[in-house]
């Protein structure tokens, strides 16, 4: 089996996780910028984090033979401070030429506030100005439906944004169709306690088609499982999916989306 982990916060994971992922068939990992679990106190903290994502972490991954890509932004959880967000967005362009940067992400909303909306619009503008792919985080639990609708409207209102160059992550049964109907890609996150289980993700593939859908573990510093994607692949086998179909979803689909930037080199 081979697969791609299109959303993993590897700076929070151990070398054991890298070893286990590669052993399970991981062919490359992509790391969106995330909240640290605490608020960074200044733009300098983000500068250091972006250096970590574009320099140190790819070297750590390379020790396991694993190509590492990343996405840059200030996370929606830190978007309430619009002044800080402006400063952070101001330093992102100097990192966009780095070889492992795929685009802007994971941007989006968290509590669906006005300031979060303003920062989302700034990120979308940044991506459009620099012709970057976009990876969007949708809010958690009770906030997801409303946040997804607001995000879709922000994206639609910017005529420079090509829907197929945007992936909207963490969809569930109530938001998948909304996202796909707008022409975007959709991501399903496999978490033990929230978002999707493997069984539900397979249901969503079977119901909505696998044309523009991927799965990820979104493993980070919280309760999450770095091997969630290969575990879901095992469940697909139990659901009588063919090896070719499983491969097309867990390996082929991330490649099809990310190959829209020439920075992404197909592992094959």
């Amino acid at each position: 089996m081979r697969y791609i982990e299109p959303h993993g916060h590897m700076v929070s994971r151990t070398t054991d996780d890298y070893r286990d992922m590669v052993t399970a068939g991981c062919a490359c990992v992509c790391e969106p910028a995330f909240w640290a679990g605490y608020d960074r106190s200044s733009v300098h903290g983000f500068y250091d984090y972006f250096c970590q994502l574009t320099d140190y972490e790819p070297k750590r991954a390379a020790k396991f033979g694993l190509p590492h890509y990343c996405w840059l932004c200030i996370n929606p959880k830190e978007s309430e401070d619009v002044g800080l967000a402006k400063d952070v967005i101001g330093i992102i362009p100097q990192f966009l030429d780095r070889p492992n940067v795929l685009g802007i992400g994971e941007i989006g909303l968290n509590k669906n506030s006005r300031n979060e909306m303003q920062v989302l619009e700034m990120h979308v503008d940044l991506a459009a100005n620099h012709n970057q792919l976009i990876l969007v985080h949708t809010p958690h639990l009770e906030d997801k439906l409303k946040g997804t609708r607001l995000i879709l409207d922000v994206l639609k209102s910017d005529s420079r944004i090509q829907p197929e160059r945007v992936i909207i992550d963490h969809v569930e049964e109530h938001t998948a169709q909304l996202v796909l109907d707008r022409g975007h890609w959709a991501g399903m996150t496999l978490y033990p306690e929230s978002k999707c289980t493997g069984a539900r993700a397979i249901d969503i593939f079977e119901r909505f088609g696998s044309e523009r859908l991927w799965m990820n573990s979104a493993c980070d510093w919280g309760v999450s499982v770095p091997l969630a994607v290969p575990h879901a692949a095992l469940e697909m086998r139990k659901r009588q999916w063919t090896a070719e179909k499983i491969d097309s979803v867990i390996y082929g689909n991330p490649i099809r989306f990310m190959s829209q930037t020439p920075k992404f080199k197909s592992p094959a």
Binding site: N110, K111, R114, N115, E116, K144, D203, R239
Partner: protein, 86 residues
């Protein structure tokens, strides 16, 4: 997959989840204290299981979602609770 195959695969797991759900509700009912909006929302969402279509998961999620459409003035914190408090 045939219905029987799906039941072979998932029945025992979901039987256990069903009993866990019942035990959770019994536990909450036995406990002292004020009513909590999360439990009311939970019981409301349970009604969606009686739907005759295959849209139960979607409607349970909708039932637990914030139905409003306008951005809020300011984020009250970072976390989500899992149920919508009107």
């Amino acid at each position: 997959m045939k219905r029987t195959d799906l039941l072979d695969l998932y029945f025992m797991e979901n039987r256990a989840k069903l009993i866990d759900l019942a035990a959770f509700m019994d536990r909450v009912d036995r406990a002292e204290g004020d009513a909590d909006f999360r439990y009311a929302a939970f019981k409301e969402a349970l009604k969606e299981l009686g739907r005759g279509d295959s849209e139960r998961a979607k409607h349970v999620l909708l039932s637990l979602s914030d139905p409003t459409t306008e951005p809020i003035p300011a984020a009250p914190g970072k976390g989500a609770i899992g149920a919508w408090k009107t």
